[in-house]
Assembly symmetry: C2
Homo-oligomer: 350 residues x 2
Amino acid sequence: MTDAPRSIDLAVIPGDGIGPEVTAEAVKVLRAVLGSAVELALTEYPLGAEHWLATGETLPEATLGRLRGHDAILFGAVGAAPGDTRIPSGLIERELLLRLRFSLDHFVNLRPSRLYPGVPGPLADPGVIDFVVVREGTEGPYTGNGGTLRGGTPHEVATEVSLNTAHGVERVVRDAFRRAAARRKKLTLVHKHNVLVYAGHLWKRTVEAVAAEFPEVTHDYLHVDAAMIFLVTDPSRFDVIVTDNLFGDIVTDLAAAVTGGIGLAASANLNMDRTAPSMFEPVHGSAPDIAGRQLADPTAAILSAALLLQHLGLGDHAARIERAVEEDIAGRSGARSTSAVGDAIAAAVS
Amino acid sequence: MTDAPRSIDLAVIPGDGIGPEVTAEAVKVLRAVLGSAVELALTEYPLGAEHWLATGETLPEATLGRLRGHDAILFGAVGAAPGDTRIPSGLIERELLLRLRFSLDHFVNLRPSRLYPGVPGPLADPGVIDFVVVREGTEGPYTGNGGTLRGGTPHEVATEVSLNTAHGVERVVRDAFRRAAARRKKLTLVHKHNVLVYAGHLWKRTVEAVAAEFPEVTHDYLHVDAAMIFLVTDPSRFDVIVTDNLFGDIVTDLAAAVTGGIGLAASANLNMDRTAPSMFEPVHGSAPDIAGRQLADPTAAILSAALLLQHLGLGDHAARIERAVEEDIAGRSGARSTSAVGDAIAAAVS
Ligand SMILES: CC(C)[C@H](C(=O)O)[C@@H](O)C(=O)O
Ligand SMILES: CC(C)[C@H](C(=O)O)[C@@H](O)C(=O)O
């Protein structure tokens, strides 16, 4: 356990598109809930696609060094508009977002999925949806390993290498079991071990080994394709899902969709060893099409701020935000501006 | 174009679990629709988990050689019961099913997704769903490349290598554009090129290059995670999806779920160069839990037989099966046995 802090030294990376708007609301709610009990110091870092266009920098080594000194990082969203050809596709995502996750050893990418009462979703009969996905965040198919041979010729060969280590898999699996033990005590491994034999068997063996430490937690296994089916036909069956970096990306966007959309989906990139700051970000992207117009829903950013407080040992404050969000959602009818949503939730937690 | 054949020399691999039951109905419907106009010769191949238990064989070289001599292969389902520890997990899937797809160069894994009128599905407001997924079938993350270093130790490293070639990507992309040109003229590439840069860019560049040959077809791109969201919130946006072997596996199970389940999802493993027989199989597995009890829905197998006729140049016969299935589905109320469904559809196409 972490002692509740008296002050938080927070780095804020608002980013691009709707990032600054939703981050402002998350900060507003943080200030409101912390009041004078916990001091909140903010340092803004201008990083993202706009910053790259202006400076050619994605994440300089010195900036990364300064980020390491903070207690936590609040991240908005980054990425250029889809049609913007000035920015090489995926560059900012890889050299900023993924670089942060990998450099700061965010091995638990935690993504809770809850269908809040009153939220319209695409499923006719969703039942109760309340699970968390523990997505591995520092290896798997996301390591950037691979290459191109004879690029641009009819003989091109392109490879992608998924790297999986006992160290990397075991720590995230143990984290997932711990979370399951504190919840409804059920863990589901999602992979594709009938085809991806090497990585799949490492995951499967690890789950079986770590399960022995958690006799109260039951565990099962689903191929990723079967998991897709259950996520839309029986999402209540899930409590904790543990999976690799790529499957986790896929599963969590579907989970966000069935729980009412990525406007509500929060996430935490956690370094559970606390050797570097963790980072909290909405699952959604920078949505350049609606940026700057106060149209974005800041709820995902606000819920990500709650995950931040939880991680820093301020579980009561986190719970207050979650309750306020829940009540706010239940009372939603017409459209409100981004800041109106933030104002309402901030008022409720003050 | 292929001339309509006067006879079909068909290999049948009923397989395990519900495989034999659903295959019997598909054969029944084939016989009924072909009548005396086209001669149907059948050769059954006992392959699958049961066969492996009895003989230790998965797919002997000589059997593969004989299979090559047929006009087409009708495949039921293979796989042991989940709890059956006598069979190494995934062995039959890899050494029989994937070996057939790879050896017979089934580079187009075609999976139509249609929501038939009257079919209950999980979406509250599905709209019209009618798209096809063209899944690459002979490379990508399915090649079995990869390995394990220091297996079973705390220093284990497991890799999976996705192999992608210009040859392999181009032929499947061109096939997908052809199908789009014959449909609603819209193609969507699904990949994750912001992270899987090498393979992703090969796919993206290839789509852009081949698009020039099909000026009447519009094309767009979705990251696989975004595709998940659209598949449940706006599936009508899709006409033809083209994607790699693993993303295709994931996308098609979700597509099957939103169109009423894998009891209806048909597939074709096509060698479009016709250098070896193509293979037709329901998307579902062997479902050992309900096997032998006439509980399985044979519709997916029957629709796969329609894809078979289509591929062999018997499009009118294929269309008759599809119409009969559509009418049968529209009239469904209570449960019927596997053979009762087959009887009804066979009667309708005779
Ligand atoms: C932007 C992208 C690199 C990122 C990912 O794939 O992890 C995003 O989709 C997410 O889920 O956070
Ligand atoms: C059984 C398995 C190897 C197979 C696949 O992953 O291709 C199945 O899921 C399918 O979709 O046909």
